[in-house]
Assembly symmetry: C2
Homo-oligomer: 525 residues x 2
């Protein structure tokens, strides 16, 4: 493996040059985004992502000098060689002394790796469920799967499930089972899902790496009680996805168990058994494998050591330039695609939990902005919601647009001279250009659009399993690269610990903090 050195962004040789360079952005002496966005620049700013997806980065702040500086930054921070080391098993989650191996979940050539073995076990299990060799405790076939999990065990799998639901219909690919999710400890979450299910035909998948996630454990017990109350045997209706060392592992309480390990972080676990079991049950293992192949292709492309040939690296560098140098502290993720409506929520976790940190890889305080805040809604809907803010608000937002040339279902109609797909793409392109170029109005400031709002376009022909896998891996890899550039450990989440400790002290009645006691009084609790 390449020797690695870890340096704060602010201590790199290139940092001062980037700060100086950033001061020229959007000035006439430097580079003005609206003027730079030419047709040639659009055509010349393309990088393949994998799975048929592409990044077009034309509408970001950059000129030739920017790209030179960012390439130097990537070399200085050894971004690609650290990534190669990571995939080869270097301990990159240094604080927790763990390797980071989610890429192996989609490297299907390595048939003998642990994750591929689990995938083969899932394939066999799913085949038996679909063939009704495995049925519920009253011998009825399983029609629904309910995933019980929170955070990474919920957001990624839910996002991917919704992303493929209409695709399967449009592509006439089987939809074997429907999926539902129980995540929250709000008792109404479990109660409403349980009520909506025909329990005799429902398979539950409890997903927790540690096997001790409080919310998941509580919801599992509620589900067990409901199954028993319905005269069903919970051990024949619940499978586990956990680590081999967890209290849930190899227990006769479960119909079967599938494994991950400490090298798979929750927010990076969608392509492991955490997402794989659910997606295979719903769409078939072959569809999940197509998703894995798209992700693997994106992983391979992310190893290119040249920023104009590596989409995830270019994205990470441009994002760091926007956040840490141009003071854009909010990223709006805007999929012009109904099926990706939960993708912004997944990226909120992936990006904000990975890089929303104020200390470096060694736990030392750093003094530069790290992750942006992430929000998002589907387009065109957001245009009628917070679109006003992006164009004319006082906080600086940069944007990711995600779009596809074709819809998933293919049903459309020409209305008033355009199909809805044309209308969707017309709105998308109008937003990219309106944000970049703005529109000057010296008479009425209310109708003045300053422009200069940078955006990236991530696009493909159609949202199919390969495209989805590549899209997911692209963002995972860009997040990893951003962490390397910023010198963070992107794989821990120490910020959640204090809340856990206080919650425990409240539920155990051991807290005597007067504020806590007074807040409990408000709820008679």
């Amino acid at each position: 493996m390449t020797n690695m050195s870890f340096t704060n962004l602010s201590d790199t040789a290139i940092h001062q040059a980037l700060l100086r360079h950033a001061r020229t952005a959007n000035t006439h002496s430097g580079f003005h985004l609206g003027s730079l966005l030419t047709g040639d620049r659009v055509r010349g700013s393309e990088i393949p992502i994998g799975g048929g997806m592409r990044l077009n980065y034309a509408a970001n702040y950059f000129n030739t000098e920017t790209l030179q500086l960012l390439q130097e930054l990537a070399r200085a921070q050894q971004v690609v060689s650290k990534f190669v080391n990571l995939t080869n098993g270097a301990i990159m989650n240094t604080g927790e002394n763990r390797t980071v191996l989610h890429h192996r979940t989609r490297n299907r050539q390595h048939v003998d790796n642990f994750y591929q073995q689990q995938l083969q076990r899932i394939d066999k299990f799913v085949a038996k469920v679909h063939s009704q060799e495995i049925v519920g405790s009253t011998n009825q076939a399983f029609e629904e799967v309910v995933q019980i999990g929170i955070g990474g065990s919920h957001l990624g799998p839910e996002t991917l499930y919704l992303a493929l639901s209409d695709w399967a219909v449009g592509a006439k690919s089987p939809r074997h089972m429907e999926a539902k999710f129980i995540a929250n400890v709000d008792p109404d979450d479990a109660a409403s899902v349980i009520t909506s299910c025909n329990l005799a035909r429902t398979l539950f998948a409890v997903v927790s790496k540690s096997g001790t996630t409080d919310e998941t454990s509580a919801n599992e017990k509620i589900v067990r009680a409901a199954l028993e109350a319905a005269g069903l045997d919970p051990a024949k209706h619940i499978v586990a996805v956990t680590s081999e060392t967890s209290p849930m592992a190899k227990s006769s309480d479960y119909l079967d168990s599938f494994y991950i390990d400490d090298s798979i972080g929750g927010r990076f676990s969608s392509t492991s058994a955490v997402g794989g079991l659910l997606l295979s049950l719903c769409f078939g293992t072959e569809v999940f494998e197509r998703l894995l192949d798209g992700a693997h292709e994106a992983d391979q492309l992310a190893m290119r050591d040249c920023i104009t040939g590596n989409a995830a690296l270019m994205k990470a560098l441009l994002d760091v330039f926007s956040c840490s140098y141009l003071s854009y502290n909010t990223l709006a993720v805007l999929p012009y695609n109904k099926a990706l409506r939960r993708f912004p929520a997944h990226l909120q976790q992936l990006i904000m939990e990975s890089n929303g940190k104020s200390v470096n890889r060694y736990g030392e305080v750093i003094h530069y902005p790290t992750s942006p805040v992430v929000l998002g809604e589907e387009g065109t809907n957001y245009q009628h919601s917070f679109g006003q803010y992006i164009h004319q608000g006082t906080s600086k937002i940069f944007v990711d647009f995600i779009a596809f040339a074709k819809s998933q279902l293919g049903d459309d109609l020409e209305v008033n001279g355009s199909t809805n797909q044309e209308r969707l793409l017309g709105n998308l392109i109008a937003q990219i250009v309106a944000m970049a170029k703005g529109s000057e109005n010296t008479v009425d400031p209310n109708q003045h659009f300053p422009g200069g709002i940078p955006s990236s376009l991530i696009y493909g022909e159609q949202l199919n399993p390969e495209a989805l896998g590549a899209l997911l891996a692209f963002y995972e890899n860009a997040t990893t690269f951003t962490g390397f550039i910023l010198n963070l450990n992107s794989y821990d989440q120490p910020g959640v610990e204090l809340g856990k400790i206080l919650t425990k002290s409240i539920l155990n009645n051991t807290s005597e903090d007067p504020a806590i006691l007074a807040l409990r009084e408000l709820f008679d609790f």
Copy 2:
């Protein structure tokens, strides 16, 4: 009416004092949030909102001097008297020369006002649908209602529908019909909803004030084509919610039409016919009227001219103090409540579209931060997603917590010594205190929680129709008050116009902008 003067925040007499005061926040010489959060402060920081809801503002930055300064600011900007004038019909949407009358939609004492007349018409129509006096074109009863609308015609109604769905089950209140929504021009949006419906039993409500919203008009035509293809008469399956001057009004193309007017802004329209028809069809008019009564009570309480007695005013002032003086530019809305899962999306529109502006009421450029960026997810889920960022990220986020003592369905189980409702509230309280107080760790910065993160708690006994109406009105009124304090017109959205113009030029093929043409090439469009 009181005479009104309009002054930029930065030109008020109190502005410099607030700037100086803000500099003392979170310092030992000034006020430190963690130290201030005592039991007595929690008990003493309560204001009724209406509908049984309360605001507890204890965990915000303030001391006695802050409240004095903010009270002076409220007087200087004539916040309450402007609000009274607004409800009395002053032209407060000055740029568009319109009154702002959404409060009259919930003032049921005024039986002869236009909006109450529409409500009475809705009541009669809904009764006929429920009694099957009005049926579909093949004489089958209506079981589903699909609202076709975008922005304010979608987000508010969808949010309220989801908020009451489990409540109706738990309260054994009738659920007459199910609701679905078509908003996006993504062709898969209309296609998937249409496929999921039994069209012979489906009523569509097309909602557009102008009657010319491009997305809504296109989706309506797609629905008409689908009804015709199914051998049904669209005129017997579609109702309109629009203004009396729109092309949709009084047309025989619709089964019936219900009206709003230019005094009802889209994002403030949930309590008008825009939300009223849908919610009455689903839950009964009497449930919608309970929601209106909760909203009306909140409106009445918002007229109190004293910040410690007016929850919406206190919220607006503390938010402005956080955003414009303490540099918190992001608001995380965290409902510890599954049923409110879409409420953050509604507030994104309400707050960011109303106050996400850089010019004042007269269209003059201003030089202070206006609206925060708004994001949110349900708790406890967000704790496993972007919770890390709030506690330890580099961007300053302030928080609204929303919670209820009781769940809606009432099904719960004690697991490991606690019910899930207790677990939910325990996590909530832990987050409030962890954010405010943090936890010092001088040895390991990775385990250091700086704290000092301000939050508001909006809470009640249970999320029922009155509580929901009050919650909605509370945020609407706080948004209005914030606009008055910042000297904005909160009722227009000029920032959406440029995108509309460019979209039209693309769909008409009249744009020759080389960037637009090159972007079209990417999609073969």
